[in-house]
């Protein structure tokens, strides 16, 4: 099966989980920080993505906690998740490096 390029939101969610397990709201605030406040995931988008990632075996439930009578479910990357994120990060880095070197070549990079 051909692998499509990963969406920005998916990439950021996986990146948030790469540092260790997190719960839903933790992912949202972490993604906000990683993206320098450019991406604020909404709950619907987040859970659509989490469902798909779980079905694809990239993430799994780590544990559950009740904090102030609210359920928190923590997610973590699976081995496949680590692999896919590494591949995607490498792909993005390679593209960015080409862009930077070309911009440098024409003196458009400050």
């Amino acid at each position: 099966m051909k692998k499509r390029a990963m969406q920005e939101a998916t990439f950021l969610i996986l990146t948030a989980l790469a540092g260790g397990s997190q719960h839903g709201y933790g992912i949202i605030t972490d993604v906000e920080q990683i993206s320098d406040r450019h991406v604020r995931l909404r709950a619907g988008t987040l859970y659509t993505a989490l469902e798909r990632l779980r079905a694809d075996g990239l993430i799994e439930v780590d544990r559950e906690e009740i904090v102030e009578s609210r359920l928190r479910r923590y997610y973590r990357l699976t081995a496949t998740g680590h692999e896919r994120l590494a591949a995607e990060a490498a792909r993005r880095q390679a593209h960015a490096l080409v862009a930077i070197s070309r911009l440098e070549a024409v003196g458009a990079l400050r």
């Binding site: 839903g24 709201y25 949202i28 909404r42 709950a43 619907g44 988008t45 987040l46 859970y47 659509t48 469902e51 609210r70 359920l71 928190r72 479910r73």
Partner: protein, 132 residues
Amino acid sequence: MIDAADLERRYRRLLKCYPAAFRREHEQEILSVLMAGTEEGQRWPRLAEAADLLRSALYMRLQTRFRTSWAWECRHRRVMVPVRVISGIWLVALTAILYGWGVGGWWGLLLVPAAAGHFYSAYRSLRHRVQG
């Protein structure tokens, strides 16, 4: 405190749009995410937030439906592939006949994509292994 209870009730109502299976597992969890993202004294879900929930719920419903019918077709591909291929050929033949007689008109817009859909379904059933 009253405000928070109002808001939670409204969020719960929005979450009712999700498929039941998803709600059983995730309602409490999403609710805590939603409530964590609210401001002091907020009584109504923000419009963008509500729209996002509705969109995600609709997406999940469509996906659930699509996935089940898709899995069914894959399981029965021994029957369904010939059915799809014959239907596709028949639709192509029908299109040719209609246009050959000069009475095709706008029907091609309906018939050609339908035929393509049948062929594509057959192709997908053949290519993919049954999952789960």
